[in-house]
């Protein structure tokens, strides 16, 4: 891993001056931009006290933001547990020796990974009641099931990549001491895969937390619905409400991401064994999945 500082020399006297000039120029540009935003907000009266004071009142937090946050976290938590389960089950299914398990599991994973989450939530929420005899689907479950199918499929791929990155000697040794395939999977491969893929898994959980915001579209009273839409409608302070809600999401996800990088540093320090043949498969597999995972998933070919 080349460090960023490799791209430029330690600054000499001229470079120092040049960097200083660029810093000042860019800094001024940034300040000008911020001032422009400030002025634009001011023109539209967005700094008016009555738009921001609601966030100092208990009512706003007790009736809007905290209940919304609770719903967001509840949906995220249930979906996390379900999608981890879904991910492990389908990763194992995809690695099965029997084609009649492998092929359907692969089809399910590929399908749900390629379908926009919003389509699935719409289908579950608006479409299923037509099929199941008119029983309405609670918005909570529409969101949770959608999140589970989608993130579970992405996690299944993460687990699968992790299992394939475990050196083959591990499972050979396990078979050698007489373990069955089932035992090899449970005791040898999945634990190592889970550990190697932990950063990917956590960053997928960030995606999951963010995607709960889609619940707003089916009127699930989560943070976006309660803290931005309802509050904004009541107090006509939609911009302020959106900025506050964004800050809350950023804090939650920043904590999760920090956890992920902490875990990644820890696992790297402990040292995951790496086969000698060229590129490091654990890292490459992790990177391949890591990119789409952060983004909200995506099909990585091959």
């Amino acid at each position: 891993m080349s460090t960023d500082a490799v791209l430029y020399d330690h600054p000499g006297p001229r470079a120092k001056i040049r960097n200083l000039v660029l810093t000042v120029v860019f800094g001024l540009g940034l300040l000008a931009l911020l001032y422009w935003i400030y002025v634009k907000f001011d023109q539209k009266n967005q700094w008016a006290a009555e738009l921001w004071t609601p966030f100092l009142e208990a009512n706003t937090w007790v009736n809007f933001i905290i209940p919304g946050l609770q719903q967001t976290l509840a949906a995220a938590l249930v979906a996390m547990v379900l999608s981890l389960t879904f991910g492990i089950v389908f990763a194992v299914g995809r690695l099965s020796d029997h084609w009649w398990v492998r092929v359907p599991a692969g089809a399910v994973v590929e399908f749900f990974r390629a379908v926009p989450l919003l389509l699935m939530i719409f289908f579950i929420f608006y479409g299923l009641p037509y099929v199941n005899g008119g029983v309405p689907i609670p918005a909570f479950w529409a969101v949770v099931v959608g999140l589970t199918l989608y993130n579970g499929s992405v996690l299944a791929e993460a687990f699968r990549a992790g299992v394939r990155a475990v050196p083959t000697g591990q499972s050979e040794a396990a078979y050698g001491i007489g373990m069955r395939k089932n035992q090899v999977m449970r005791f040898i491969l999945i634990p190592q895969a889970a550990r190697a893929m932990l950063p990917v898994i956590v960053s997928q959980l960030v995606v999951l937390v963010k995607d709960t915001a889609l619940g707003y579209i089916v009127a699930f009273p989560e943070l976006m619905q309660r803290g931005v839409n309802d509050l904004g409608a009541n107090r006509a302070n939609i911009v302020a409400a959106a900025l506050v809600a964004a800050a809350i999401y950023i804090v939650i996800n920043f904590l999760l991401t920090s956890l992920a990088s902490f875990i990644e540093r820890r696992t790297r320090r402990r040292g995951i064994r790496v086969p000698r043949n060229g590129a490091n498969p654990v890292r490459t597999a992790a990177q391949n999945v890591a990119m789409p995972a952060g983004m909200g998933g995506g099909a990585v070919g091959a």
């Binding site: 399908f111 719409f122 920043f254 391949n288 789409p292 909200g296 070919g301």
Partner: protein, 224 residues
């Protein structure tokens, strides 16, 4: 009228996916340009630029896209009065493109930065030793190699972008998720068929695209 024979339904379907295509295309272009600039910022010698890039990535990567698109419409357009086109459809389209680009650029930036890390340090050192400046090292030595290393992650990002563009429907653009919702309301008995058509179209386009990017990534990888 029947679901499959009514020409209006075909129209709804095609309009929906043509908006998705346009959102994906414009969003990908915007995100790529912004993302490369941000990645340059993040590896530059100037701390203010690095800070700006890092702030951008942390802010937009951790905010739900739904909220960003929502803000583009209710914040930028309704409240602050940023109008991008006369027609409401086109206006919402461009607002959506802004939201998608700003959000996706954070991921493109991180992908390219991780690509820069795959370029052996010796390459940049050699380039500096023959007297190239930071910008020249980046433009002629590092970015071309980094670009080839990140084809697969970039592919995944653009695939995710195509799926994410359905979220622009929340600000009233008649893209395919809205079209599907309309059809479900009109043809309740054929809900599953409708879902399979819309979801199937995404799957049929995006799964092969994923494999295409994987193949391209293998083919164009810098062999070391």
């Amino acid at each position: 009228m029947d679901l499959l024979s009514d020409p209006d339904n075909l129209d709804l379907y095609l309009t929906g996916f043509s908006w998705i295509l346009r959102l994906t295309g414009a969003g990908a272009l915007g995100a790529l340009v912004l993302g490369v600039i941000l990645a340059g910022f993040r590896v530059s010698p100037i701390p203010v630029l690095r800070g700006f890039g890092a702030a951008w990535v942390n802010i937009f990567r951790n905010t739900p896209l739904t909220l960003i698109i929502f803000f583009c419409y209710f914040g930028l357009f309704s409240t602050l009065g940023l109008s991008l086109a006369e027609e409401i459809d086109v206006n919402n389209f461009w607002l959506g493109v802004i939201g998608l680009s700003v959000y996706t650029a954070a991921f493109v930036c991180e992908a390219i930065r991780s690509g820069i890390n795959t370029v052996p340090a010796g390459q940049a050192e050699a380039a500096r030793a023959i007297g190239l400046s930071f910008f020249q090292v980046l433009r002629m030595i590092v970015l071309p190699q980094a670009g080839r290393a990140v084809i697969a992650p970039l592919g995944s990002i653009f695939i995710a972008l195509a799926k994410n563009s359905t979220i622009v429907g929340t600000i009233g653009l008649a893209e395919s998720s809205n079209a599907m919702k309309t059809l479900i309301n009109d043809y309740g008995s054929q809900t599953i068929l409708i879902f399979l058509i819309f979801a199937g179209t995404f799957a049929a386009v995006l799964i092969p695209t994923g494999y295409l990017f994987g193949w391209l990534a293998n083919r164009l990888a810098v062999k070391r």
